[in-house]
Subunit: 216 residues, 4 copies
């Protein structure tokens, strides 16, 4: 299932317009802040699908019955571009455990590439809800591979894939390879095009570079 | 119209359980942070009701059509208890202009009280959207009077009253005195009882004291 | 005693250059963020003058002797311009109690003005350390009057007056009227001039308007 | 040269007492927030050693001469434990470019270990100021190896090693292997002991687990 949160107009669109805008992007702090605010909103929207249980809370004046989260989801973030977006989700899911994964594209001379994983740090995920975070879902290969790597030995109860901007192709790749009962996709926008180098168009450019500076 | 955001389970309930809990309240920083996070969520939910216009944004790789806010709402905050909640709304409506109002209850020996306004700082609000913020809607007298004071000479296009926790009585007071076309109410919880001193039960105690310390 | 924190080069000067700059000021969120960051630095520098006591802390691996604050200072903020600056101090002194005071200038036709106080909310301050916060120290009249109002019935152990940008005249006014043992002044910059309307030159303009929008 | 920022009492000690305290550590959000606040203070103290140039800034009322940073330092963070501490430095050095490095200890059956590097993402660092961030400096091997890896092909103008808590042994290791002109060490506390497993005592436990949850 795909949840496109920008279908209904809200501040999501305002923030996405700012992170797309090459003039506004010059302010790296605002770029990171927008990713963080969007991460908070995604956390909130996803939280509507989680399980709650009612608990009794003693206030200074009485007792209240309030639903609270049965369990915090595990947050998994793809380095480095995912960090500010993850920060937003962690601001809201402040008691969550976290996985960090780095994967990168190794390009061949012909422009093709393979996705490699080099760094993984993760908590137990067996039978827990997993939220896997990457700002961009381009071909879907990187997200798909990272996901498979994480669940190779443990099966989460359910996984939410979160991408701020996705290509149609990337979404179709995930849909073809994973079932609805296994994975829910959450995006802030769906763009039509993908360049030969697997960049989303119009997209926003390189989210990692815009948040943290270029790399050599 | 009344929007009770806790009807559907979400992180709103998790955060409200924490701000109600007299044990968790001992950490003032977390208390303020919870009000701030709730303010962000309220900003996001209210933003779904605002007007947008599509604009063309130039990204590093192309041009995107994105809806953006036609106009930022004016945020009005009742001092001092409303400040952390307002901070959350301002985090999301970062280009908004802001009104600050202080009103207080002057108690008589018999326990009755009148509401007085002593400090007002406000931008133009004629024909703009106004969001008026107070963590607690108890009798509704204070919110109602503040609102009337703000709109005495200028009429906003529409006003959203935001209260984290409201009493049934307070909501009914607003509904009796103002029309749906004029005011929309947004709350995070509706409590049944109101003490003789106009405290909401179970409520959360004194939001101002919990955020900023007692006053003499 | 006057502590001018910009005498030694540091990020203070970087942040002050941004809040002075009329081009950078167009981003209200960055303007508020800079005031907040400066508030954190002022909190840290003032904290070097406070009293500490050594306590034993149990870590997961042993016991550590660490000095902790004997008591948190009371933070007093002048509305509304002082709020983002105060937020920075509160971020660091997160267990402090807080006073809120509004004072305003009532102008006469001849350009002269008197300072009035209309809103005060304050905790006990007798024998405690007070930090009184206003972004601008222009004539010193407003800060001086607010201070006198706060200490009319209770005497703090010591007061730190904090202003981001001060005029020479304002500093001299405070020095003439209060002793070093009573008040320490902390500033981020000292500007030479004061206009006839009591605006600091070059200053930064109206801090309240830049943080929160104009008022009518 | 070693700068121990806790020699002089300040909020640094207050924050360190909280992150050491196994009771306070139960609140992961506060743990991360304390690392972030400490990161901000370290950024500020290090900024006193950087180079500034005077620039003319146009304010709404005049022109001010203000010193600004000649160049922002490059921030390098060791994953994953360093992230919240790095966030604090990035809050203050908001225009900095960033390097991310993961290194881990590969343990042998006899309890010895080697340090390996698996993920590196870095900007150009030739002739720039580098700030390398890790919350704990235990044996110094990991920090030393990461540093050598970063400077293998490019020489920074100068490097600031930042560790919140260091062991005497770790500091001595860095001093033995690197000159004062090459590296300045910044720490928040120096602990005497190091366990056979290279944990600092009393230290604070595992900073990565406390910030982000355990890993398997």
């Amino acid at each position: 299932m795909v949840n496109n949160l920008s279908k209904e107009n809200s501040l999501i669109n305002q923030f996405i317009s700012e992170i797309r805008d090459s003039k506004v992007q010059k302010d790296n702090m605002r770029f990171r802040k927008n990713l963080e605010r969007l991460g908070e909103i995604f956390a909130y929207e996803i939280s509507k699908k989680l399980d709650y249980e009612t608990t009794e809370v003693v206030t200074p004046l009485g007792t209240a019955s309030v639903p609270v989260l049965k369990a915090y989801p595990v947050l998994g973030v793809i380095l480095r571009a995912g960090l500010p977006f993850h920060q937003g989700l962690l601001n809201f899911f402040d008691k969550s455990e976290n996985a960090f994964i780095s994967s990168y594209r190794r390009y061949h001379k012909d422009g093709n590439f393979e996705v490699h994983i080099d760094y993984v740090s993760k908590p137990a995920i067996e039978n827990r809800t997993l939220i896997l975070i990457d700002p961009m879902l381009a071909t879907g290969l990187s997200m798909g591979l990272t996901y498979k790597h994480l669940v190779a030995e443990e099966k989460p109860a359910h996984t939410h894939l979160v991408a701020l901007i996705a290509s149609l192709e990337g979404i179709n790749y995930i849909k073809r390879n994973f079932s609805n009962s296994e994975i829910t996709i959450w995006v802030g926008a769906i763009d039509d095009e993908l360049t030969a180098q697997a960049y989303i168009v119009p997209g926003l450019g390189d989210a990692g570079d815009l948040a943290f500076g270029g790399k050599i």
